[in-house]
């Protein structure tokens, strides 16, 4: 069972990202769940969403909060400042973060692996959202696929087509660019 947590802000598309991730794994034949953590639904407020991907030999499934995710995705790097996104993250887990900076400079403790992608710039280039409020969810999924290998790029692209059919071409281009440009740091501990 692989458990994922996505941290973003209202308007960035964290909930759709969790659904698309689950959709990608579902298309690969996995049993999956995805769900948002409901709280205050406001633009800019922190938002958390989750996905659970079963291994082929898992026979029973649970329905409980994900407290110790295997990997996390961070749509807004300022969220890392509070440390909250790292809570419970398993050692060796990936932190896939939207940032123009190098993975080693993001202040993430050495027991985690960091992948950084400039998802905001990519989103703006493909006309997703505005420069002030780029919609970065699909770009971060491309980076996640490359860093973790939990899902393939092709499956992510198919899932994007399924989840955001209205702007599929731009979102697919953004995810592909992120896949190609994500910078991955080595495990330091």
């Amino acid at each position: 069972m692989i458990e994922l947590r996505i941290h973003g802000r209202g308007g960035q598309g964290a909930v759709v990202a969790s659904k698309a991730l689950a959709q990608a794994a579902f298309q690969q034949g996995h049993y999956v769940q995805s769900y948002p953590d409901y709280g205050v639904e406001r633009r800019g407020a922190p938002v958390v969403a989750f996905a659970r991907i079963a291994e082929p030999d898992d026979r029973y499934f649970v329905r409980q909060d994900i407290r110790e995710p295997d990997h996390i995705l961070v749509l807004d790097p300022t969220l890392l400042e509070s440390g909250a996104p790292l809570q419970g993250l398993q050692d060796g887990g990936w932190v896939v973060v939207n940032s123009p900076d190098e993975p080693g400079t993001l202040g993430v403790p050495p027991q985690y692996r960091v992948a950084a992608v400039d998802a905001s710039a990519i989103a703006v280039r493909h006309g997703l959202g505005t420069a002030a409020q780029p919609v970065v969810n699909t770009a971060i999924l491309g980076a996640f696929a490359r860093a973790t290998g939990v899902v393939t790029l092709d499956e992510v692209l198919a899932a994007i087509e399924h989840e955001v059919p209205a702007r599929a071409a731009d979102n697919i281009a953004a995810a592909t660019e992120a896949y190609e440009t994500v910078r991955m740091g080595a495990l330091r501990a």
Binding site: Q23, Y31, Q33, Y35, Y60, V62, R63, D65
Partner: protein, 407 residues
């Protein structure tokens, strides 16, 4: 044989109504139900579902609208949650007396105040005595299928039925399910064939004044119909398996053959209980699970046969204050008639959506094995308190300032 999709529990319920070809839908939006009727309204607007969608100003009116449409001979559907179901209460009784087989999905939600949108069964179970059939879904698949199953029985006995699913844990969680073939559902669920319909050409009086010389018989017929519904639920659940690939029944036993300790649960938490049972088995503990799918009609025979003589922990995500968890109460009552002595321990947990984890169930198992006297109500997971009964000697005092209470 249908198509695999990834859907939320709410959208699965929408598909349940669509596959059932609901003809009139009326609802008032309330979190966490809203996306059920939102999708249905889109289906109606696009023509994908040939139905009339009636917008109303309250849940009370929504129920009145579907009762009226059902009396006119239409298959009707509505959905609600928590306070909304409470506001429908008066009309829920009416649907039974009027013998209108309305089907409703209730996303179970804790009652206010404190204002909560999270899962708890008390809203649903508070409608115990209105005379509706009542089912609990555990999965997104069941959130869809139970709507279809319910219509199949409801329209044979002319009684309404409600299906419960847990707020968020099912309602807003996407998971794979089979959305059945329309033709296969049509073969399973024939069109609604009412005995009487509102028809100006053939006027009749409905819901009129009834004196003492007739009321009892009118109600007695509804009680008889509910008894018959118990048999029909079993038959229709088996036929669902033959026609659509999932076999359903009023109870769902797991690892019960040699079980010495048994958990009883309903709804989404059951998935975690089942997982916990497999972990207990790995430790050599003979644990089992009895999931209650049907709450009304209550599966007396199955409960008695499967539970008698065992050590039983009933897991209630609800409470009838001053008595017990509601399932515990019902299980004890079923076991009081002719069953061998059975120890029933009532555990109340997960109130207001508090996470019921696999570990929570394992904690209950440890507690259960440490006790040898059946307990009425044991609270699990109250901050700062071990598993145990409520204290009867606590005086009411002013609250401490928040900073002294918070961890």
């Amino acid at each position: 044989m249908g198509e695999r999709h990834l859907l939320t529990g709410n959208h699965a319920a929408s598909y349940g109504a669509k596959l059932s070809r609901a003809e009139v839908i009326s609802a008032y939006p309330i979190t966490p139900q809203t996306t059920i009727v939102e999708l249905l309204s889109e289906m109606v607007a696009s023509g994908e579902l040939d139905a009339r969608y009636i917008t109303v100003e309250s849940e009370h009116s929504a129920m009145a609208a579907v009762i009226g449409a059902s009396a006119a001979g239409c298959r009707t559907y509505t959905a609600t949650s928590g306070q909304g179901l409470a506001l429908m209460h008066e009309m829920l009784h009416w649907a039974v007396g009027a013998r209108t087989p309305v089907v409703l999905t209730n996303v179970t939600r804790a009652m206010a105040p404190g204002w909560s949108i999270w899962s708890e069964q008390t809203d649903f179970l508070s409608q115990r005595d209105v005379g509706w059939m009542m089912l609990f879904a555990e999965t997104v698949q069941e959130a869809q299928d139970f709507v279809v199953w319910m219509y199949r029985v409801a329209e044979q006995v002319f009684l309404p039925g409600m299906v419960a699913m847990d707020a968020f844990i099912l309602s807003h969680t996407s998971e794979p399910l089979i959305v059945h073939d329309q033709a296969a559902v049509d073969a399973y669920l024939p069109p609604f064939d009412p005995l009487y319909t509102l028809d100006p050409a053939e006027p009749r009086a409905y819901g009129g004044l009834v004196n003492r010389d007739h009321y009892f018989e009118i109600r007695y017929k509804a009680f008889e119909a509910m008894e018959r519904a118990g048999r029909l639920l079993v038959e229709a659940g088996e036929e669902f398996g033959e026609a659509l690939g999932h076999r359903y029944g009023p109870v769902d036993p797991f690892m019960m053959d040699d079980a010495e300790i048994v958990f009883v649960s309903a709804g989404a938490m059951t998935s975690n209980v089942r997982y916990a049972v497999t972990l207990l088995r790995e430790r050599g503990i003979k644990a089992g699970l009895l999931r209650l799918v049907a709450f009304r009609p209550f599966p007396f025979e199955e409960v008695r046969r499967l539970l008698e003589g065992r050590k039983v922990a009933v897991l209630d995500r609800n409470m009838s204050s001053g008595h017990s968890g509601i399932f515990a109460e019902e299980i004890r009552s079923a076991l009081s008639m002719g069953a061998a002595p059975t120890e029933v321990y009532g555990y109340v947990l997960g109130i207001g959506g508090r996470d019921i984890r696999v570990e929570t169930v394992l904690d209950v198992a440890d507690d259960l094995m440490s006790r040898d006297e059946p307990a009425r109500t044991l609270y699990v997971g109250v901050k700062g308190l071990p598993i145990g009964p409520a204290r009867a000697d606590r005086e009411i005092a002013r609250l401490a300032p928040l900073e002294e209470v918070s961890p």
